[in-house]
Amino acid sequence: MSARRLIALILRTGRVAEPAPPAPEPLAAAAGLRGSVQVRHVDAGSCNGCEIEVAGAFGPVYDAERYGARLVASPRHADALLVTGVVTRNMAEPLRRTYEATPHPRLVLAVGDCARNCGMFAEGYGVVGPVSSVVDVDVEVAGCPPSPDAIVAGLRRLTGR
């Protein structure tokens, strides 16, 4: 696409983002972070329903980035972990290592009912437990799956914007 057509498309489409709701109460533990919050997403055993909503939250309509939350590709670059799904046996150790690899101060956001309390997969044979049974959780987002605006609200508690 040429630059001219791209600019034309941008002008034609205009702004599609939802208006920003009032900011939720910021998290006390997030006070140590400066600037925007870099987030590493970990799928600990999700059905991928939450992933679709997370993708929506970072898309142009809900646009989590305007509140200073950004997805990154490695926990070494991250301030916070966004964990979805129940923690399965195979993912318990990698989740713990990812948490270890995140620099201090580190925060964890558990997204979805499975991440909070195992949801419909509770007591499954391959399930270790909710995210809080493996690493310390700072913020929880309820829903199966949670709507993108709920995820954005959770992220805004970390960013404080």
């Binding site: 070494r76 290592r97 270890e100 690899a101």
Partner: protein
């Protein structure tokens, strides 16, 4: 008696003393006594060479050694340089050998052969007539063959390697003999001075002699396509011998080329220069390509020798070409760079081979794919190897950088557009040098990175230990020479320029090089100090800053949630060179076999995948193997005549007697 004469005589006496020490000393003290005598012999050679390089003269005629005439030893300035080079390498190698040799390599034979080898190498450049040159050459060739054979009883692969070496080194002798005989017959004298006056370089005799002598030098110097002995002999010889052979002996090949083109047949025709440039460029590229893909550490170093000698011959060719084509200034610079390249190669290759010997000593491994992590256990060796590898890769503040910089100055400034031949040859030479340098960098990163960094890939590498102090001392000394020659090249470059008859090159500033012919100037020490001064403040500030905010935490390396603890997950030498191997697939012709064993539950379920790769030498497969097979067939034909039957032999003698009798009667 002048100092040079005394030095020459003392070398003979010290070689004798070393042999006596090797034979007579008790086994417990043999290494120290013979090693000390060999060191003294080498130091005497270095001092004599230094004196000759500085312009002192001296002449010794040994009467009655050979029935043909006296052996005359009278080193000129060029010979003095090569003697200095051989002496310095020999001294470092002898000190190293004191701690390194054990078992068969510490035998009486091995020490005597080492003394003879050092003496031979130091006397080749001292020769002032054909007989002395050939005698010293043969002493050097024979004693080095004995040294290559040292470990033949324990390892079967030593014997074929020594056989290849003996055949190729004697091919060199035969070519040299033929070349010098041609010249001596035309001049009716064996003295170099008489030959220089009597034979016209452009004549048929001159051209034939040049071809023979250049090929003889190429065979000794391991130039493409006569390089096949290098990658065989170097890995099989003890490491101190490999170092001496690679750093000093092969440079005698270049000495023969320079002797021919500068002293015996000065101002030769244009095609000599072009031929030397082609020979050198091909050798440099082929050598470094083979080195880049080898995973045997000593084989890699051997191939890199082909590359470095190739560059030196290229520089010599460029010098001869430019001197004959109206650019004598640039020609002088090119010839000086030839000697600088050899000196720098001697320094870093000694360090590399000695460090490789220390690695072999400590781990029992030569295969880079089984080494790794040695920097932690062998800090001295690792540092020296790193410095020398930087020198080989021609990085700044090393001798390699200075030498290649001088060569490139000559190549770039010598390319006059008014001369069609020069205008074509110079850019091609620049391209060859540039490609070679790039590949050398890759090779050096590979060798240092896989051997010394990362984690050990085998039990041998994990149990490595630092070597003894004589070995550490000599490895460190040669690495220090690499840096020293890179920092203060001026005075030495000025005296080397004198050795090839170049005028105007002098030391300038803080012992830097000034090349007035090409309007170029390099002062590494001043540049280094300026760089240190300008970056010093930044370094200081960042150091203080990091002290104040010290927040370090030891954590496991990030392995994407898994753990990377298996050393097999590292890059190996083979995998590092794999992309290059793909690019140069046609030139290298690797043989790859991938065997996949299925579990029997369908092709998708794989039990085991085995990958094997073999790299042959294209030249050897295409040229040497058919020639050897033809010789074998000829031998089989001869066996029909000589089949072991006594009756047949008696018949032969009877027939011969009858023929002689008939001939006499007629």
């Amino acid at each position: 008696m002048t100092g040079v004469e005394a030095g020459l005589l003392s070398q003979g006496l010290l070689a004798l003393a070393a042999s006596v020490a090797a034979v007579a000393a008790p086994a417990r003290r043999r290494n120290v006594l013979a090693g000390a005598a060999c060191t003294a012999l080498a130091v005497a050679g270095a001092l004599t060479g230094g004196a000759a390089l500085a312009g002192r003269t001296g002449r010794i005629a040994l009467e009655g050694v050979l029935p043909l005439g006296p052996l005359v030893l009278a080193p000129d300035r060029l010979g003095g340089f090569f003697m200095l080079l051989a002496g310095c390498v020999g001294a470092v190698v002898s000190v190293y050998a004191i701690g390194y040799v054990q078992g068969v390599s510490a035998s009486r034979t091995a020490w005597c052969a080492l003394a003879a080898f050092l003496l031979g190498m130091q006397l080749v450049p001292a020769a002032a007539d054909v007989l002395a040159l050939l005698s010293a050459w043969e002493v050097m060739a024979l004693s080095s063959t004995v040294l290559v054979l040292t470990d033949h009883a324990r390892r079967t692969e030593v014997r074929p390697a020594a056989l290849w070496y003996a055949a190729m080194t004697h091919l060199s002798l035969v070519l040299l003999l033929a070349g010098t005989a041609t010249l001596a017959a035309a001049a009716r004298s064996t003295s170099f001075d008489a030959i220089a006056g009597a034979v016209r370089p452009g004549s048929v005799t001159g051209n034939v002699a040049f071809c023979l002598l250049a090929l003889g030098g190429a065979s000794k110097g391991g130039l493409f396509p006569l390089h096949v002995w290098l990658p065989r002999a170097h890995p099989q010889a003890p490491s101190h011998v490999s170092a001496a052979m690679s750093a000093a002996m092969v440079t005698m090949g270049v000495y023969v080329v320079l002797l021919t083109c500068l002293r015996l047949l000065p101002a030769g025709p244009t095609w000599w220069g072009v031929a030397l440039v082609a020979l050198g460029a091909n050798s440099a590229l082929y050598g470094i390509l083979q080195a880049a893909v080898s995973s045997d550490l000593k084989r890699l170093l051997a191939h890199s020798t082909t590359e470095n000698i190739g560059l030196a011959v290229l520089a010599a060719g460029v010098g001869i070409l430019l001197r004959g084509h109206g650019a004598p200034g640039a020609g002088d610079v090119a010839l000086t760079s030839c000697l600088l390249l050899l000196l720098s190669h001697a320094a870093f290759k000694t360090a590399l081979f000695l460090a490789a010997g220390a690695v072999l000593h400590a781990t029992g491994e030569r295969d880079l794919d089984l080494l790794g992590g040695l920097a932690a256990t062998m800090p001295w060796t690792a540092t020296a190897f790193g410095v020398a590898a930087a020198g080989a890769a021609a990085l700044p503040v090393t001798s390699g950088f200075v030498a290649e910089w001088v060569l490139l100055q000559a190549l770039i400034h010598g390319a006059g557009p008014q001369d069609r031949l020069v205008a074509v040859v110079m850019p091609m030479a620049v391209g060859a040098v540039a490609l070679t340098t790039g590949l050398t960098l890759l090779t050096c990163v590979k060798a240092f990175g896989t051997a010394f960094l990362g984690r050990p890939r085998s039990a041998g590498a994990a149990g490595a230990h630092e070597c003894g102090w004589t070995m550490r001392l000599s490895v460190a000394a040669s690495a220090a020479a690499v840096v020293l020659l890179g920092l203060v090249p001026g005075p030495l470059a000025a005296s080397l320029a004198g050795a090839v008859g170049a005028r105007g090159i002098r030391a300038v500033g803080l012992l830097g090089i000034d090349l007035p012919q090409v309007h170029a100037l390099l002062d590494p020490l001043a540049l280094g100090l300026a760089a240190a001064a300008s970056t010093g403040a930044v370094a200081l500030v960042s150091l203080v800053g990091s002290r104040r905010r010290r927040r370090e935490r030891v954590a496991l390396a990030w392995g994407c949630g898994g753990v990377r603890i298996s050393p097999r997950m590292q890059y190996t030498a083979t995998s590092y060179a794999e992309p290059l191997l793909r690019v140069f697939d046609d030139a290298l012709r690797p043989e790859r076999v991938v065997e996949i064993t299925a579990t029997g539950q369908g092709a998708v379920f794989v039990e085991r995948v085995r990958f094997r790769q073999r790299l042959g030498d294209v030249v050897e497969l295409a040229a040497y193997r058919p020639a050897l097979a033809a010789l074998d067939r000829l031998g089989a034909l001869a066996r029909r005549v000589q089949n072991g039957s006594v009756h047949r032999y008696l018949t032969f003698s009877f027939v011969a007697l009858v023929v002689v009798l008939i001939a006499v009667t007629l």
